[in-house]
């Protein structure tokens, strides 16, 4: 939150003559709120039943389908919108409305948000014990199982869907491409088109205030149930059950959501790349941006994981502190990314030139991205630390093993799979955060997603599509690596 202070100081003492509350900004705010509520409802209606079915029933292709279900969440929304726009421009039937405007945004952002309530429900359902489900099944069959599970998972699913809605408030990608007014686009235009830093700062603070207003009651009411679902418990979890009809319903549901969320937009991305492949220029761009992308995302990953690891170890024995850290983490995640980025920009302007190495460098981008996605790493690390047996630490205490030796020999090696998964997740998510990177990147240093975002308006479609495909493939590779790592480690550790 430190970078926000200079931003606040600038907002009250700034020189902008424009009013923050213009008609356009008001309309954008209303539009954004409607979009956020639509996304939350849409994702809840699809994510809750699907998450429940996926946790309770066995179905063909379980592991890959669950893996690909997470993919839309890890991609910037503009990538999916480009895919849909390409389809609309070439193979779309004239009698069917093409995705654009508010409805297009709702459709794409809604599908992109489905993984949050889906995995929230899935994680909550995994906290039900196998015997609770067996008892419900013996008492009244699948109907009772589903009814009881919905009651148990509903609070978590609602909270996850609301969080998904709030996150869309700060995403300028989809509204920009589909031509929909949104507050995130307004902030971006104030900074990049009007060059009015003070106005952008004021708009950003209004949005941040709104986000806090929305998320605060959610934290107060629902945090304990969210914490129970997110953090591991040592119970005998539900074993997926084979059911002739429901297993197929689950599989078909997941295939439909994955097709609409990923496969069809990817086909849309492929079309111009096939018609007019510009692999030479695409690989040139890739070579120029790959080092910077790796530095930004890798630095963000390391920052987030180190902080999260410390936080998880410090809070391991104190459930109240854990709850507090989780609340702060969710609050930070929900805040608009432009807030910290504009704050750092303000700091960079006021700071002496000797501090440029930290305020106007690759390092500051990596640090701010790491801090932004530190909540994701925190949840991953808290889950992992929660699954360690407390008696391992007690045994080390009785034997007088030093803290550092015990952590380096036992705890960190046992946490390695989660550390690796958390690192990869933060890397992918920070690559997708174009707002922070776009605002903070030093001159001449562009990450791949920002390069795509900046060239998409005035470059050949073939080049944009080729770059998008390369990016998509890299994310898929990282996701597959993240899913295989724990298995690899488990094999090494009988």
């Amino acid at each position: 939150m430190a970078p926000v202070l200079p931003l606040i100081a600038n907002v009250f003492g700034g020189e902008s003559t424009r009013l923050v509350w213009s008609r356009a900004f008001g309309d954008s705010l209303v539009n954004s709120l409607l979009l956020a509520s639509g996304v939350a409802t849409f994702s809840l209606l699809i994510g809750l039943p699907l998450g429940l079915l996926a946790a309770l029933y066995r179905f063909p292709g379980r592991s890959p389908l669950l893996l690909f279900q997470a993919l839309p969440l890890l991609l910037p929304s503009f990538l999916l919108c480009i895919g849909w726009s390409n389809l609309a421009a070439s193979v779309w039937p004239t009698w069917f409305p093409a995705p654009s405007g508010f409805a297009g945004c709702l459709f794409v952002l809604g599908l992109q948000a489905v993984p949050l309530p889906f995995f929230g429900t899935w994680a909550a359902c995994r906290n039900l014990t196998a015997s609770q489900i067996d008892a419900a099944r013996l008492h009244g069959g699948e109907w009772v199982v589903l009814r009881q599970s919905v009651r148990f998972c509903l609070p978590v699913a609602v909270l996850a869907a609301v969080l998904a809605g709030i996150l869309t408030l700060s995403d300028p990608g989809a509204p920009l491409i589909f031509g929909c007014r949104s507050v995130a686009v307004e902030i971006r235009s104030s900074f990049s088109a009007l060059y009015d830093f003070t106005l952008a700062g004021r708009q950003c603070l209004v949005l941040a205030g709104l986000v806090i207003l929305l998320i605060l009651p959610m934290m107060i009411v629902g945090l304990p149930s969210l914490a129970t679902a997110m953090l591991a418990r040592q119970t005998r979890p539900v074993m997926p059950y084979s059911h002739r009809v429901l297993s197929w319903v689950t599989m078909l549901g997941l295939v439909t959501v994955i097709s609409l969320g990923i496969v069809i937009p990817t086909l849309g991305l492929c079309l111009p790349a096939v018609k007019n492949p510009m692999l030479g220029r695409a690989s040139e761009k890739l070579l120029v941006t790959s080092g910077t992308t790796l530095f930004f995302t890798g630095g963000a990953g390391v920052t987030a994981i180190l902080l999260a690891l410390c936080m998880a170890l410090v809070t391991a024995k104190d459930s109240r502190l854990r709850l507090f850290v989780l609340a702060v983490a969710f609050m930070l995640l929900a805040l608009p990314p432009a807030l910290a980025a504009l704050g750092v920009l303000r700091m960079a302007t006021d700071a002496p030139a000797q501090l440029d190495w930290i305020t106007r460098s690759r390092l500051s981008v990596a640090l701010i991205l790491g801090l932004r996605f530190f909540p994701i790493a925190t949840v991953t690390m808290m889950r992992a630390v929660g699954s360690l047996s407390p008696s391992w630490t007690d045994a080390a205490l009785v034997h007088g093993v030093s803290w550092t030796r015990f952590h380096f020999r036992v705890i960190v090696p046992l946490l390695m799979p989660s550390i690796a998964v958390g690192l990869l997740l933060v890397m992918v998510l920070s690559a997708a955060d174009i707002t922070t990177t776009h605002l903070l990147q030093p001159p001449g240093e562009q990450s791949l997603p920002v390069a795509i975002f900046t060239v998409m308006a005035n470059s050949p479609e073939g080049l944009v599509a080729s770059l998008c495909l390369v990016y998509l493939l890299s994310v898929i590779l990282l996701l597959v690596a993240a899913s295989l790592l724990p298995r690899f480690w488990r094999r090494r550790l009988p």
Binding site: S389, V398, H399, G400, V401, L493
Partner: protein, 255 residues
């Protein structure tokens, strides 16, 4: 006459606002084997944790061999300097280390020289009969083998007192009997004191000479095995005595 190894005075402990130990007094002599009996939640494990130094009571004092270990809600002697080892309910073997790795890390607090450390490990694995398992990880061992490794890790410290917190729960009867006899043998050989928390009369009969019965955070019966079972004050001690007699007759019948 044996000297007092552990002396607890007026221990008071609360967990989540609930009184678990309520002014408890206890003495354990050098070389003595005591079983703590009591209903669930009577404070047996908490007492064990306090003696080990893993928990600090709100009030009261713990002395180990005459040296204050915990006083007035403050830890004076850290767990590693109390000469106490513990066999945990889930054994607490570090799963990513081999058997030797577990022993080596367990001894790291003693700061032995490389040679002394090596010879201590060799001596202990031979003593506990696990010399063929030293390169294996706990996850690849059977329940009985894991018990032996946990015991070896505890005994490698050459403790004055071994605390056992219901460690035989997951074992089949035959393995349990073997392990318990093995602990008995090692106890007579090495001469450490022993405190056992259990609900099983067989474990008590095989390992302990005296009993301490806990009720509502205090010790209500304490003394040599025969004395407590003959003049039991608490219902639990009476029930336990009946169970013990029953298990003895069943065993005789089987023979």
């Amino acid at each position: 006459m044996n000297r007092t190894l552990i002396r607890c005075r007026g221990l008071v402990s609360r967990i989540g606002g609930q009184l678990v130990l309520n002014g408890l007094d206890l003495e354990i002599l050098e070389g003595e084997s005591v079983a703590f009996l009591g209903k669930s939640g009577s404070g047996k494990s908490t007492l064990l944790w306090i003696v080990a130094g893993l928990e600090v009571p709100k009030q009261g004092e713990v002395q180990i061999a005459g040296v204050p270990a915990t006083k007035n809600g403050r830890m004076v002697l850290p767990p590693s300097r109390r000469g106490v080892a513990m066999l945990f309910q889930d054994l607490a073997l570090w799963p990513n280390l081999t058997v030797t790795g577990n022993l080596r890390l367990g001894l790291s607090g003693l700061r032995l020289s490389r040679e002394a450390l090596q010879s201590r490990i060799q001596e202990t694995v031979k003593l506990c009969g696990i010399d063929e398992l030293i390169h294996r990880r706990p996850g690849t061992l059977s329940g009985g083998q894991q018990q032996r490794v946990a015991l070896a890790r505890a005994l490698a410290m050459q403790p004055k007192l071994l605390l056992l917190d219901e460690p035989f729960g997951g074992l089949d009867l035959l393995t349990k009997e073997t392990i318990i006899r093995e602990i008995g043998r090692l106890k007579s050989l090495l001469g450490f004191s022993l405190v056992l928390v259990t609900h099983d009369p067989f474990e008590v009969r095989e390992l302990c000479q005296s009993l301490a019965v806990l009720e509502d955070g205090r010790i209500v019966d304490r003394g040599p095995f025969d004395q407590v079972t003959a003049n039991a004050n608490s219902l639990l001690a009476k029930a336990f005595l009946e169970q013990l007699l029953e298990s003895k007759s069943t065993k005789r019948g089987r023979m």
